[in-house]
């Protein structure tokens, strides 16, 4: 008994009651107030707004007073799953996302390796600096540039391909995925390489020296020393990207979309946008249901992948 009361007394300096702590450090909580309030308004209020997905939305009645939708509120979801657009959107979303993941990662790694073994420091720095440049070009300008260069009449590459091989890059929907992914590589590869350059810088130089003494060639050293060293980073990046599979960069897709490629370029996000804000008969509840479906699948994917990352490296974020 006396023991119990004594122990906390010795360490009171650290374990104050919350009331005491708050009195001494109320300013820390005051600092938290503005950002948290902003999150409650701009992130959590819309989360509450997703109940719209289960309603039969009437503008005059507002979200709360609108009647619940049929089929226990799931009418909008059922409508989406039965819609012929559903399969197409889901397929396009997954194809674009996985294609881009599978291409951009090896490209980033290759660039990082290549930069790592460029002996001329000035040239290396120069290439690296230029490689970040495209990252700063805005989506609109970037898509504008794509349209200009690949124009089959006046574009430098487009007219070349059209005149010599009869390929109309912009007018061919089957080329949309490649155009989207490879232009994305052009824009993001320098940026994506940063993390691998850092991983390569962390490789133990003694391993390289030992390999050289053993008579390993440069390619062998890359294969047996460098690649194993960056695999953990690559695995984590891959898994983290998996979590965002459905959250594809729809701003660029929307900007690239035209009548010719819409069959391959309609993704869940752009579809949700089209049935609501640009439609002549806007259906807010339906659009909300589509977004909610996407958010929920995304959430599940993130939680799963996070568990996996945690298991592998203990680097999960929760």
């Amino acid at each position: 008994m006396s023991n119990k009361s004594k122990v906390p007394k010795i360490s009171t300096g650290h374990r104050k009651t919350f009331r005491q702590y708050f009195r001494a450090h109320w300013q820390l909580y005051a600092m938290m107030v503005p950002p948290i309030v902003m999150l409650l308004i701009f992130a959590y209020a819309p989360m509450y707004g997703v109940i719209l997905a289960f309603k039969d939305y009437k503008v005059s009645l507002g979200i709360w007073n609108s009647p619940w939708a049929d089929n226990y509120g799931f009418k909008n979801f059922i409508r989406f799953f039965n819609n012929y657009n559903f399969k197409e959107c889901l397929r396009n979303t997954i194809v674009l996302s996985i294609y881009s993941m599978l291409v951009s990662m090896p490209c980033s790694i290759l660039l990082a390796l290549s930069l790592n073994y460029a002996k001329n420091v000035v040239y290396k720095k120069f290439v690296q600096m230029i490689s970040y440049c495209p990252y700063f070009i805005s989506t609109i300008v970037f898509v504008g540039i794509i349209n200009m260069i690949f124009d089959n009449r006046s574009g430098a590459i487009g007219s070349f391909l059209f005149n010599n091989f009869g390929i109309n890059v912009l007018g061919n929907s089957s080329l949309f995925a490649s155009l989207y992914v490879w232009s994305g590589v052009w824009q993001g590869v320098g940026f994506g390489a940063i993390i691998y350059i850092a991983a390569l810088a962390g490789v133990d130089q003694e391993q390289h020296e030992a390999a050289i003494i053993d008579g390993a060639t440069l390619l062998q050293r890359i294969w047996y020393v460098d690649i194993p060293a960056i695999i953990p980073t690559a695995v984590i990046m891959l898994i983290l990207n998996m979590g965002g599979t459905l959250n594809i960069g729809y701003e660029k897709i929307l900007a690239m979309q035209n009548q010719n490629n819409v069959a391959m370029s309609e993704v869940i996000n752009t579809y949700a946008y089209k049935v609501s804000l640009v439609s002549t008969f806007p259906d807010f509840a339906y659009s909300t249901a589509i977004s909610l479906f996407q958010s929920l699948v995304g959430l599940i994917l993130i939680l799963i992948t996070n568990k996996i990352v945690d298991k592998i490296s203990g680097k999960g974020f929760m």
Binding site: Y21, F22, H25, L28, M31, M32, P35, I36, M38, L39, I41, F42, A43, A45, P46, M47, G49, I63, S114, L115, A118, Y123, V127, M129, I130, S131, C133, P134, F136, I137, S138, T139, I140, V141, V143, G144, I145, N147, I149, S154, G155, A156, I194, A198, G215, L218, Y250, A255, A272, S276, L277, F284, S287, T288, S291, L292, S295, L296, G298, M318
Partner: protein, 296 residues
């Protein structure tokens, strides 16, 4: 044997330079092409004569850009949105990040979960739209600037930076001397955090400067359009208004040429500011990516 290996390595090093150079050309070619186009005549552009260097060099496209007033209205709006948005976002981000970096901060877990959850789940397009509408923010600058002001990712990056750079002893010593938390934050933490403030500001500025979707759904009146929306009309929708009342076919043809030239000029003029700023902040930028990726 050994010399064979050395010569093989030399070949690999050489091939590596070739690869890098090919990469450099791939990155640079479209950029040089667009710059060359912006200095070429409309005739050369329409017939696709430009390959690498300007054809019939002229400054006409820039003259057209400077006369096209909605670009400059957009420019002004973008600067205002980027400035106001960045100030708000930075204050909120740093305010949230500092307490969260303190190991003694009670309730940290709850706040962290509240912030991290916004990274994983969002209400989606329409609930956001209705919120902005109900707050009567439609068609105002605040609809563009406020919703994205608090970014969970930026908070985590800033928190990690504080965690690693602000010594705990310093804060304890300050507390002993009766320095309040906020004063410590203002007088010690902020001055020590120049690199992270630079990185995060740059991210926010680039994000605001380049975004088009949010302004597109929330802004109606053209005089409030940021640059990207003006560019969207010009580049993607080809809605170019050269005030032509003329029905003379020769004039129309000339205007068509001018419209084409205008596109290239606007690309250069709109992208230039970031391209000029970027080399100066490049080293911070890389650092920020690294801090961010450590705690993905």
């Amino acid at each position: 044997m050994n010399s064979k290996k050395i010569s093989q390595d030399t070949v690999v090093y050489f091939i590596n330079y070739v690869l890098l150079t090919v990469f450099l050309i791939i990155v640079l070619y479209p950029i040089i092409y667009i710059i060359s186009c912006s200095f070429s005549s409309g005739d050369a552009l329409m017939s696709g004569k430009v390959r690498l260097l300007p054809v019939d060099p002229t400054l006409q496209s820039y003259r057209a850009v400077f006369k096209y007033s909605s670009i400059w209205v957009g420019y002004k709006n973008s600067i205002i949105y980027a400035f106001v948005g960045t100030v708000i976002s930075m204050v909120l981000t740093l305010f949230a990040a500092y307490p969260l970096s303190r190991s003694d901060f009670r309730g940290k877990k709850i706040f962290m979960v509240l912030i991290l959850f916004t990274m994983m789940f969002s209400g989606g397009l329409i609930p956001n739209y209705l919120l902005i509408k109900n707050l009567h923010l439609l068609n105002t600058m605040w609809a563009v600037v406020l919703p994205g002001a608090v970014s969970a990712y930026n908070i985590i990056v800033a928190r990690t930076f504080f965690d690693n750079t602000i010594p705990k002893e310093l804060q304890e010593a300050a507390e002993m001397d009766g320095c309040s938390d906020f004063k410590f934050f203002l007088m010690v933490v902020i001055p020590l955090s120049a690199p992270i403030i630079a990185v995060l500001s740059l991210w926010v500025i680039v994000g605001l400067w380049n975004s088009y979707f949010v302004p597109m759904i929330y802004l109606d009146s053209q005089e409030k359009y940021p640059l990207q929306l003006v560019l969207r009309r010009i580049l993607l929708l080809s809605q170019i208004n050269l005030n032509q009342t003329n029905i003379d076919p020769e004039m129309i043809r000339r205007n068509q040429y001018l419209g084409e030239m205008l596109k290239y000029g606007t690309i250069i003029v709109s992208t230039l500011p970031l391209m000029i700023v970027y080399p100066f902040v490049q080293k911070y930028f890389v650092k920020g990516v690294m801090i961010g990726s450590v705690k993905g």
